[in-house]
Symmetry: D2
Subunit: 457 residues, 4 copies
């Protein structure tokens, strides 16, 4: 068993990547993808400068032709990056060689390394957001399906992990859907507003382009489908921060939902199970059915806060180019895209295959013998007993039921202050959780309507 | 010297607050402000339920009348919070007592503690953003003033803290302005889109309001001027994350600009100085003029990334109410508002009083004897010598100037390969940084135009 | 109900402090405590310089006498800190006034503000660690009690929140104890190795003390019971980092254990309950018994990672005094001490009042009808059936039991391949979790022995 | 130019690794190294169980023989990890196949996946610390060399980046040395105290080993040269936290020193330069000499705080195995080792090649015309004029010198109140910074002595 030829230089096939790199996002953020994006930028610069009349069409064509990512050696460029402090320097050197002839001296014209790397980062983000948003949308759709199907499925509402009041699994799933949609909206917004060309040359003046800088920026932006900034943003990292923050929020949402699934899948709770065939088993413990997708989503989501913090801290960039803080962004930015994308992919997988056990939800709800309806019984007794006495009567009944291991209904039915005012049928009806759901269904409807209106990302 | 009576319970007058709590934001996030916001929510619930016909106008009035923050003891409520796990429980107890009579049993009707605290948080954010956005806007205006006044003021463009190419102080200041405006936009956006009422009762169903929940939510939102969510968001923390991320970015921007000021104010650089009278001196070292405002802005800004990380990590909230992660938000959220607001206030102070020494900027630019124009000289020789030979010739001249401590112009003027093609006048002209500014002024114009269009926050 | 006079300037009585500030640590880190520590340092400097012969005994006495924290106004000093950038400057000014006369000019002699604040921080840490270590030790002792009492109490071992194999609650509690002890050890180590005097003057040379600097440092260290560093450490923050990291680890341990309690206390699990009277109830839901102490411990513990990150990021301090990064430490450092101390205090409270329901543990263990003993049954069949066939047979039986809702024992007892080799008694015996505990008790013994040897912190 | 065959699966040859992965640490933490460590653990388990009499020597030998990392496909195992949630599951499957025969069924005997991965992590740490500690030691030695050589080299002491008082470059370098040594000590301590075998089986009881568990743990620890824990530590992450925190502090130290170098190398300061040939140049700006090693060290060091925060937050691990928090450690732990190791390697490179320009240090010191000696002049005048009048006189002279652009000495020499008491020679002598260095040299001596005593890591 030898390493296969497909074990390429990409970091997306490492030992932990089965768990931590998942879904379409992996190929959009690996080293090859970054290299491709950088070359796309170099090609676009050549085209834009040709349209601006700064280089001839032939020169631009020769440069564009050479910007073929497959023709470059990622490892060699990465290694050579050490001497100049970034990978663009050796890439431009190799690209210049590959272009050759007269055109060679127009490679990278007017640009500084950071122009290429920052603009490439924008392209990487845009490409990574495609599968990422698709996975979030699919997870939201799966949640919508659960919300619709289970709008009347009773489940215990749990606060501080204690039964509080009844709710529906539909409302729970609608909440998941809504937060996924909100996370998508934020990311889509960041995509449409924060992705801009970077082009300013060494000091942000585009000095070597004379008076043509502004128009080249506009042409470059048009060519790449990115916004044209009013001013170079080498040390204004608000765009990076905006994307990072939106990713962090999306990861947070994925982690929250996956965490709920893990809790619902506990052996003692057993209300859901991941149904993906062939996953989650144990070679030694045949009874196990681990919620691997949810666990992995949690693992990926947990990477985000620290990475966002690193990126926010890296906003402290000196003067016209930072002495380290810019370089410090590269890895966490890629990693944040990958982790968030992986969390979304795992969550989608989890939700699309989720088995829901409504009977177990109901059985768990009944575990306390109706005790979580105590608030309602108390309310029904209040007009007769007074609010305080009613509360104390019900509280005592609950304590008695707990202490004696009896059903709450049974204790209530043998409490004089209660049966003086409520007959057995009324008690049973008050203890029926299905009658105490308030606006649960209305909320589900509102949320589903909004989800439908939102449409695709 | 005794503690004055004004040393109230507020945490905003602590030992480190002269440095770390600054500007109008402090009073909007202290404990008294939180208490006021909670009572505003309780009052609004009463009014909304009255409009929905759930309680009488008299009951609502009685409750509203009792919601007077000055009548409650912050410390006592804070201390009593320990037993139930949040301050709303003792607050409602005290409020119920204060209301008294029949109306007392309608206090907090249908609500859960988190409804009150989360909605109060939204009010706190809205109130804190007023001074915060005003300070950011003032800092942007001050930057705009500098950008306009110094559009032709030459300064060394510095990359990795080394002289790179000439630029203008105006372009630098325009960059500050633009990133401040972007940070304001993000915060204003978060304000308009992420601030929503929270109202769902214990399990998010508003069960105790029967079928009236949705309409009460709408009335409550209208009353408070907040959005009405489609669904309760107790464990969907995307709103908190959005505000937090926007604050984190604003802090990052403040820190970046303040950091630039600190660097420009270095004894060896001396290009700017904070001119606020009576500040920055030293009792023992009379020569000192510390850039206190910039240093303090940096100190405040540095709080943000860790706080944002805590808030993002706290998105992992279980089921219908988190067992700790919600409670974990309270302090960092307040602290992030305060720190970012303080960074903005310090930065405004710094920029509004910034003294700019254009002559020193020019002198520093000339420190290397024109060496940072080497790129341009090389370009001028290229047609005659060929690109490579031109580069090597100029590089050698630069090295020689450095090694021999001579001016670059002088060395160029005595290098045969140079003077064969460029006369002394041409060399001097090539070494003139004012002629090599590319699009600097155009960028300033674009950015100033955008700033003007943006207007107030 | 008016604010009581005890609502002093201390930040430890804020609205959220019932939950987030707990235990003896609160008073050791509030603003008054910091002020006291700073004055203790000023007094010690006077004494040390007197012993070194630099000032007279009378001068030292006059200064020491004036260093009375109650005589200073925290809020006024905090507020005045804005002009010079730290609170030591106004404190020294006020102290100088209070001393008066000839002695006044020897106040703060040779020191710089950071000397006083950093050394004060060391005193604050030492004082805060007393209650903090005591609470951790008490929590460890409570765990030890549980470990000893429950060394034979069966409980499901849970991996990924799924039943895996049986273990004992004693082993679980011994694990808690051991990690608490390890956290204590680390903190005690940081206390003994990282707390050192800071004394270097403005540039770290103690220039104004002539040749006496080194000996004053030694005398000052002796006076305060702190280590004497070889060299001033103004911008070497390894000491701060060491304390911070040790606190972060202790918070992590507290959060882990509290999290386990929250999970064990879930309504569906019900294996433990917090037994503190009068806490955790709900005014509207009488059935609730929220694990408030555990939840609050989690909330406090979750503050730590972000605060540690801020402190580690603040190690980037420029030259002889940082332009912001030092100031950025003050609040997170206090906050980290308080949060970790509060987590420890809550955890101690939780564990000292923990009610353990062994019968419920056993009932939960039996929930799967012995299925978590599948591994063992498979092992018993392997010699007869071969390993693979044995595994498949048992796996099929487990699946059948799950699908048909039958007990695992029952299915095994009706599976031909099983009963050919194992009779009913042998099956029952194999399914008995008490017989499959491996080294559980041995581990408990080893850990308890180590705990005893460790003794007090 | 095609990808070379050496572009293997290792993540250590990516596009950004020239900057962000440096020194010997890279190969110790890549995927291949992790695989090797896991196999080392599997082999050690076989050997230990053989010594304990649980398997025959032949079986152990067969297993050990198959534990050859080169025989396994990292990418395939990584990819297959998705189904079970960790890479050990597919690794054990492949290893079992590779062993074959009777011995195959003893592979991984008694162990759970986390046993292997956690123990492998300990081996990875130990291996990574070798080059890391060596690089830190070399950086400390280089600093010691600078401290010794420059004990009398005057330099401006800078606080808040302003000239404060004179100091020596030797004292500055001694400070660097001392903090590097402290960071080394902490890491060496973590290595000797926190690296322990993990071996507990699925629930931490080692049930399948019957009563032999404890002795196998001891034998395994002996075999691997790691400590034997009293109790399995699957969800006690204090060991990971201790290593992480020590790495975070080391990164912080590296970043601090590298930051100082960047500041000293500024064009306007010019007191040091990185002398590594062939690095730091610019293809377009021949005058540039970027401090690439220092900048890269800063970039690497900046990764640490966020990674440490992620690891501390991951201490919240549920019951006997975490549902995500354990998996969340893998990547940040590797990344933290790599980043810190790279920061150390870059810093070593920087310091070992640092060119020091003592004349420029002196020239910068003189920039303010002796003004940073004002404190001393004031002290000399105090006996005659009184302290306050002396201070005001000197302050006025400093202000006048600044305002009129004159030398401080010159202004003092024409100020009546001064020359009444100090003649020109005395003024000159007071303004001589060499006479105002206090304990600088004594501190250097103390620190160098300690460095020598510390010896190798």
């Amino acid at each position: 068993m030898r390493p296969s030829s497909s074990s390429s230089e990409s970091s997306s096939e490492g030992l932990f990547d089965g768990v931590l790199s998942r879904g379409g996002v992996r190929e959009t953020v690996d080293d090859r993808a970054w290299l491709r994006a950088m070359l796309d930028v170099e090609a676009a610069i050549a085209r834009a400068e040709s349209r601006a009349g700064l280089v001839s069409a032939e020169v631009a064509e020769a440069i564009v032709r050479a910007c073929d990512a497959d023709a470059f050696d990622v490892a060699a460029i990465g290694s050579a990056a050490a001497d100049g402090g970034n990978p663009v320097i050796p890439l431009v050197r190799e690209l210049t060689k590959a272009v050759g002839g007269e055109a060679a001296r127009h490679v990278h014209q007017g640009a500084t390394s950071q122009d290429v790397l920052d603009t490439a980062a924008m392209l990487v983000v845009r490409r990574a957001l495609e599968p990422l948003l698709a996975d979030l949308a699919a997870a939201a759709d799966a949640s919508a399906g659960l919300a619709d199907a289970h709008r009347a499925t009773l489940i215990a509402g749990r606060t501080l992990l204690q039964h509080a009041l009844p709710t529906t699994f539909g409302l729970k799933a609608a909440g998941w859907m809504d937060m996924l949609d909100r996370a998508r909206d934020r990311l889509a917004r960041a995509r449409s507003e924060s992705l801009a060309v970077q082009f300013g040359g060494a000091a942000g003046t585009l000095a070597s382009l004379g008076g043509d800088g502004v128009s080249v920026v506009a042409l470059l932006a048009e060519d790449l489908g990115l916004a044209a900034p009013d001013i170079p943003w080498h040390t204004d990292r608000t765009r990076i921060a905006d994307v990072a923050a939106s990713l962090g929020a999306a990861a947070g949402v994925a982690g929250k939902i996956a965490g709920d699934v893990v809790l619902l899948a506990q052996t003692e709770v057993g209300e859901v199970r991941e149904g993906t065939p062939g996953r989650g088993g144990s070679s030694t413990m045949p009874q196990k059915n681990n919620p691997i997708a949810a666990v992995s989503a949690v693992a990926c989501a947990r990477q985000a806060p620290g990475l966002v913090a690193t990126l926010l801290a890296s906003m402290q960039q000196e003067h016209e180019r930072a002495a380290g803080a810019w370089h410090a962004e590269w890895r966490p930015f890629s990693e944040l895209l990958r982790s968030t994308g992986s969390a979304a992919a795992w969550l989608r997988d989890c939700l699309e295959h989720l088995e829901v056990f409504a009977a177990r939800m109901r059985a768990n709800l009944d575990l306390t013998g109706g005790m979580l309806m105590a608030e309602r019984v108390s309310g029904a007794l209040a007009p007769a007993l007074g609010r305080l006495a009613a509360h104390e009567t019900v509280e005592a009944a609950a304590a008695k039921a707990f202490a004696e291991g009896r059903s709450f209904e049974d204790v209530l039915g043998s409490t004089p202050e209660v049966i003086d005012h409520l007959d057995a049928g009324r008690i049973a009806s008050l203890l029926d959780p299905a009658g105490y759901l308030g606006s649960a269904e209305a909320f589900v409807d509102l949320a589903l309507k909004r989800h439908t209106e939102r449409g695709a990302p």
